[in-house]
């Protein structure tokens, strides 16, 4: 049992983000429109400080802050992944909303949502979980509709309504679990759920899952993913398919591992199988790269749910989910960065990209092959760990389904990769900043894959 305390310094990374968001917002009030880019710098500095603080925290022993905030390896990885991805997204967004009337709000909203995702992954109390869910979601609704155009508005509305519906269901689930488990803290619930009526507990767990699966973009909360990814501004699409997911998977894993409700593994395994299969099948016929990436993230959510299902059953489950989620985050942001750099949504727009811009083409190839799970990229290592966890937990059928899905997924990723080698037409070269993000993300993906031994040992 980690020591109890109420030291705010244990939340330093979260506080850095909060401070940066508030400072950015206040700064934005007084800055002229053309100088608002300084807010981005402030936010980036806040994120970098947060990363540093998270790194320092990771080298310290595990503890529990304020009785509901666990500072353990799951939290460390969640913090680092969220902060790193958010930093990349801020760079992507900086070019997109340059000189926008509400530029500073844009960054502040991203940071606040990221803060919610971090808390989501770190909390071990259902009430804080609900609060984190709302904090992660509500800024994201606003961000989806930030462009005030028809597709953005539609995306924001769908996102919000799906989130509201499943959030209400989640609240009901939390109420149910509180009732049958006699508490909201996970260690209380662990004892309380052991002798709770199974049907009520099952209903409560599924209702709680509804909200978390919505954040994770998994069945049945995946309906918003394609619509929002296509409709929202690209940087925001990259954000909502990456950052909230990190928090959601960490929260799912923590809930499964720490409360150990009966029937957790089969329930999540079914969801995982359905999610990966649906995502892959739906991605087959897509000609819009953003929709393709959206379904790809749905299928990746399915793979990520495999170690979540194995929480508490397999020793490999924790390294698998943590490594996979970090690898997925950086790879996914890289792929979106190339889309942003090229400014095209149709597959035909990527013909000959490798000749037009070798850096963009290679980054995209690395990221897409990474999403397939090709060595030596990071997602490959995550997938190997995921298969290992499934086999260790005795869910060979799930591993088989995941393997078949992986093979099938090659098809639609190749549909995007093959045109890259074609003959180039005279399109303008990709824009610089997103390209740099894409190259950095691809490099990190490779480094993380090659250096996976060190990363896993840490």
């Amino acid at each position: 049992m980690p020591a109890m305390n109420e030291n705010p310094a244990d939340l330093a990374p979260e506080l850095c983000v909060l401070l940066a968001a508030v400072l950015g917002l206040v700064n934005g009030l007084f800055l002229p429109r053309t100088k608002q880019w300084r807010v981005a710098v402030v936010c980036a500095i806040g994120l970098v400080f947060g990363l540093a603080a998270a790194g320092v925290a990771a080298s310290r022993p595990d503890l529990m802050a304020f009785g509901s905030f666990a500072v353990d390896p799951v939290t460390h990885v969640t913090r680092i992944a969220v902060l790193g991805s958010t930093l990349l997204v801020v760079v992507l967004a900086a070019g997109e909303v340059r000189d926008h009337p509400r530029e500073s709000e844009h960054y502040a909203l991203i940071l606040l949502s990221a803060l919610g995702a971090m808390v989501l992954g770190a909390t071990s109390d259902l009430l804080v979980l609900v609060g984190a869910y709302l904090l992660a979601s509500i800024p994201a609704y606003a961000l989806a509709g930030f462009g005030k155009d028809a597709p953005g508005t539609e995306a924001a509305l769908k996102y919000y309504l799906m989130g509201a519906f499943l959030g209400v269901v989640m609240l009901a689930g939390v109420t149910l679990l509180y009732g049958v488990g006699r508490g909201t803290a996970y260690d209380t619930l662990r004892a309380g759920l052991a002798d709770a009526p199974p049907a009520a507990m099952a209903a409560g767990v599924v209702a709680l899952l509804a909200g978390l699966l919505f954040k994770a973009g998994a069945v049945p909360g995946h309906f918003w993913v394609p619509d929002v990814t296509e409709g929202a501004p690209p940087a925001i699409a990259a954000y909502v398919t990456t950052v909230p997911k990190i928090g959601a998977f960490a929260a799912l894993f923590r809930f499964g591992a720490e409360t150990a409700p009966g029937g957790w593994a089969p329930l999540v395994a079914v969801v995982a199988a359905a999610t990966m299969t649906l995502g892959n099948l739906a991605a087959f016929g897509q000609d819009n790269v953003r929709r393709l990436l959206a379904y790809s993230t749905v299928s990746q959510a399915g793979y990520l749910l495999v170690p979540v299902a194995m929480a508490g059953r397999a020793d490999l489950a924790r390294p698998a989910v943590l490594f996979y989620v970090a690898a997925y985050a950086v790879t996914n942001v890289g792929a979106f960065a190339v889309v942003l750099a090229c400014g095209r949504d149709d597959l035909a727009g990527y013909t000959g990209l490798l000749r037009r811009s070798p850096a963009a083409g290679l980054s995209l190839i690395v990221c897409l092959l990474g999403l397939v799970g090709t060595p030596p990229t990071a997602v490959f290592v995550g997938k190997v760990l995921m298969f290992g966890a499934a086999l260790e937990g005795g869910y060979a059928w799930l591993a088989a389904v995941a393997a078949v899905n992986t093979v099938a997924s090659v098809f639609y990723y190749l549909r995007w990769i093959v045109p890259l080698f074609g003959r180039s037409d005279g399109r303008p070269p990709p824009s610089r900043a997103p390209l740099a993000v894409a190259v950095a993300a691809a490099a990190v993906s490779l480094v993380l894959g090659v250096g996976s031994g060190i990363a896993l040992a840490a």
């Binding site: 209903a203 509804a210 918003w224 029937g263 329930l267 079914v270 739906a282």
Partner: protein, 529 residues
């Protein structure tokens, strides 16, 4: 030393020295003569290489170097005989000469191999000390290649073909290089021949019979160069006889004297062939050479031939050799008739007159090698101390026979021409029928074997592979293909199905999410229960 651990190299002893000097003198005379004949640089390069190869051959002290010189000499002889290469006939003649000597050369390769196996050395001196079966095999190989190179029976026909080359080539090839290489080798390896017991007898008889039969062939020839070619075979026969009988001093003296005589005769013949008329000096020189060839006293070949004959012990051999000696007088007389034929006058340059005169002097005067004082010195030089000085009766007899024969021929102005000898004893046809055709037949048979059996097997495997592939394509592939396309169709259908829930209408999303959640509750209840 050519190979580490195998002693050998170039060395000059008495025999080598004599041959080198002979080679140098003849080469100088021939090249001086050729300088006015208008040959290109290629001719002189090849001639010099030819002579250099001969020099290596006579100075080599191991079989490896000897083989090198031997082979280069053979190759150069090919190039020189076919010097006028636009004439296909000459190239064919060069082919015949080269392939014949080359085939016989294989004996020397075999001998080298046997020497490594039996004598554990390639040194020429060591060959006689090889163990019994190897020594005989070495001797056999050496004898075959020497007889081939020296155009002895049964290889003589290639020398007839070699006449296709220019006259200076013939002058060199017939006197100081190529053909004498075989005789030299046999004289050099005389201890080996003696050691085997049978080889020296065989070599003696081969030499004597060649001298006799080729003498007859020479007598039958109507073309002067063909006559001279056959006479070369016959005269080399005397040297081979000397090698077999162990008369190295006499054989070498005969070799040197014959080199002077034959190069002189060929150069004179060359003058006649390339010009309409003649020159008195050429006529005189040719006459002197022909008389020397006939063995008329006191000219050179009379003395040297008798020295060779003096060493022959077997009376039967001696009779054959004497008969050959008479024949040589006869064909020399026939050649002499050519000088007596009237011809127009043609100028001959000084650079050609000098070598002709010099060679003529040598051809007449080299008999001094047989004078008592000189002969002892000569034998000591060559290390041939057991040579026998010819008896006076023998000298007188051979001299008288030669003079009488030449006189008779010149007086009668015609000689009996044995018809059977006209075509070089049909040796070439025999070789064609006995060796060339069977080899070609064997090659064709092997070719058919290769085409039908080896190739056929390969093609059969390929056909079988295609057949199997076709079978697999018809029977298996369709089914596999069917399964694959079925999978693809199913995947497409499922993909279309998977996109069906994404209607874009929110109330349907709500309904679907609710239904799925209800199903999940059922799953959870079942799993928890």
């Amino acid at each position: 030393m050519m190979l580490p651990g195998w002693p050998g190299g170039l060395a000059v002893d008495g025999l080598s020295a004599v041959l080198l000097v002979t080679l140098a003198v003849v080469l100088a005379a021939v090249l001086a003569y050729s300088a006015r004949e208008g040959y290109g640089p290629r001719f002189f390069v090849l001639m010099l290489l030819f002579a250099a190869a001969m020099a290596v051959t006579v100075t080599a002290s191991d079989l490896l170097l000897l083989l090198m010189g031997w082979e280069v000499m053979g190759a150069m002889s090919y190039a020189l005989i076919g010097y006028a290469w636009p004439d296909a006939g000459r190239v064919r003649a060069a082919d015949t000469a080269f392939l014949t000597t080359r085939a016989a050369d294989l004996g020397l390769y075999a001998a080298a191999g046997f020497a490594v196996a039996g004598a554990h050395s390639l040194g020429l001196d060591a060959l006689a000390h090889a163990e019994a079966p190897w020594r005989d095999l070495i001797a056999a190989g050496v004898v075959v290649s020497a007889l081939g190179k020296s155009a002895q029976l049964p290889f003589s026909f290639w020398l007839s073909k070699a006449m296709a080359g220019p006259s200076p080539v013939s002058a060199l090839l017939h006197s100081a290089t190529m053909v004498v290489a075989g005789a030299y080798l046999l004289m050099r390896l005389h201890p080996l021949l003696d050691a085997t017991g049978w080889a020296s007898t065989l070599v003696s008889w081969a030499g004597a019979l060649t001298a006799l039969l080729m003498g007859a062939v020479a007598l039958a020839q109507r073309d002067l160069k063909q006559l001279l070619a056959a006479s070369t075979c016959a005269q080399i026969g005397f040297m081979v006889l000397a090698a077999g009988a162990g008369t190295v001093g006499g054989g070498t003296a005969h070799l040197v004297a014959h080199a002077a005589v034959k190069s002189l005769l060929f150069l004179c013949a060359g003058v006649w062939l390339t010009r309409d008329g003649s020159h008195r000096l050429v006529d005189v020189a040719f006459g002197a050479g022909a008389l020397a060839l006939a063995g008329v006293p006191p000219l050179s070949l009379w003395v040297t031939k008798d020295e060779v004959l003096a060493g022959v012990g077997d009376p039967a051999l001696l009779v054959v050799a004497f008969a050959a000696s008479v024949l040589s007088a006869a064909y020399a007389g026939k050649a002499l008739l050519r000088v007596l034929r009237p011809a127009g006058s043609s100028p001959v340059g000084l650079s050609q007159r000098v070598p002709l005169a010099g060679l003529a002097v040598a051809a007449c005067g080299l008999g001094v090698l047989g004078l008592p004082g000189v002969a002892g010195e000569w034998r000591r030089l060559l290390g041939a101390t057991d040579d026998v000085t010819p008896d006076v009766w023998m000298l007188v007899l051979s001299g008288v026979l030669a003079v009488v024969t030449v006189g008779a021929v010149v007086l009668a102005r015609r000689v009996p021409e044995p018809g059977w000898a006209l075509d070089w004893l049909l040796l070439e046809r025999a070789a064609t029928a006995g060796v060339v055709r069977p080899v070609f037949a064997l090659a064709r048979a092997l070719d058919r074997f290769d085409d039908r059996v080896v190739d056929g097997a390969v093609r059969g495997v390929a056909r079988a592979g295609r057949g199997t592939a076709a079978l697999a394509g018809r029977r298996v592939e369709i089914r596999v293909d069917g399964v694959v396309s079925l999978t693809a169709r199913a995947a497409r259908w499922l993909a279309a199905l998977a996109r069906r829930p994404q209607t874009g209408q929110l109330h349907l999303y709500y309904a679907q999410a609710a239904v799925v959640l209800a199903v999940l509750v059922a799953v959870a209840v079942l799993a928890a229960g």
